[in-house]
Symmetry: C2
Subunit: 142 residues, 2 copies
Amino acid sequence: MSDKLKLTNQVCFPLYQLAKEVINLYRPILKDLDLTYPQYLVMIVLWEEGRQNVSEIGTKLHLDSGTLTPLLKRLEQKKLIQRKRNQIDERIVTISLTGHGKKLREKASCVPDQIVASLKMTTNELQQLQNVIGNILNQINK
Amino acid sequence: MSDKLKLTNQVCFPLYQLAKEVINLYRPILKDLDLTYPQYLVMIVLWEEGRQNVSEIGTKLHLDSGTLTPLLKRLEQKKLIQRKRNQIDERIVTISLTGHGKKLREKASCVPDQIVASLKMTTNELQQLQNVIGNILNQINK
DNA sequence: CACGATTAAATCGTGCACAACTTAATTTTG
DNA sequence: CAAAATTAAGTTGTGCACGATTTAATCGTG
């Protein structure tokens, strides 16, 4: 295999690896909140933007109903969210936070701190990484 | 939430997103080989380094037996690999390529080309990304 | 207004990832 | 040498990700 071709593996595998490791950094921290990383992402969307449809959450997190429906059912079982069919358009399910769900935001406020600590990166390095990843995502989706 | 804390989400979510999208780039290409991305990684290890134990593959790919055992069984069902208990140490299962598995290497040789094309990145950009990711992985695991 | 197209969510099936545990073989050590 | 410790792989259970399909509601157009 040529060097150029080998390089692809040497980029994609570490990327796959890094994403897994970062989620593994979240795991023990989020365990205290009884959340997984994707569940945490849904909670962030709801904390920051309030009640919304399943498909709106899906658009923001790039997740389809096949992933979201069971995930949201688990958040509902934990009494963090409420799922309610829209009266006007019965196809739509609106997701809203319960009191318990809103309250969890405080407890979750220290999560990013802990992640930054384990990432061992400066604010500058984080910003650079954000830019690099953002550029690639833009280029892929162009 | 402070800007600094928000930055963590703005880095980790895009990273999680990018890793998913890159694997989604592989999906249709690898479908022609009837492989998933993790299966492809196992095949690469075997193509490049030959027969080895389950645990050696696991160390290289950072996957445990809970992930590898069923994955390897699927590769065996596809007649790409052979699983054989070591005669001397019966705990060890050695994985080796079948003729079919070795032959697949040729067909797979064009995969990185296609990925590079969809990533729309230059060799230079790829090398930079490799360095950035490598540095972070080193720092996390320090 | 009715019927075909579209939309939203749910469902089903496959496969990966990881934690926790089990099983069986081997190694260590008292 | 035998019991305890360790090791390798397998098993079980939970949850995510995604493709494909289904169901039910709504929309659009003739």
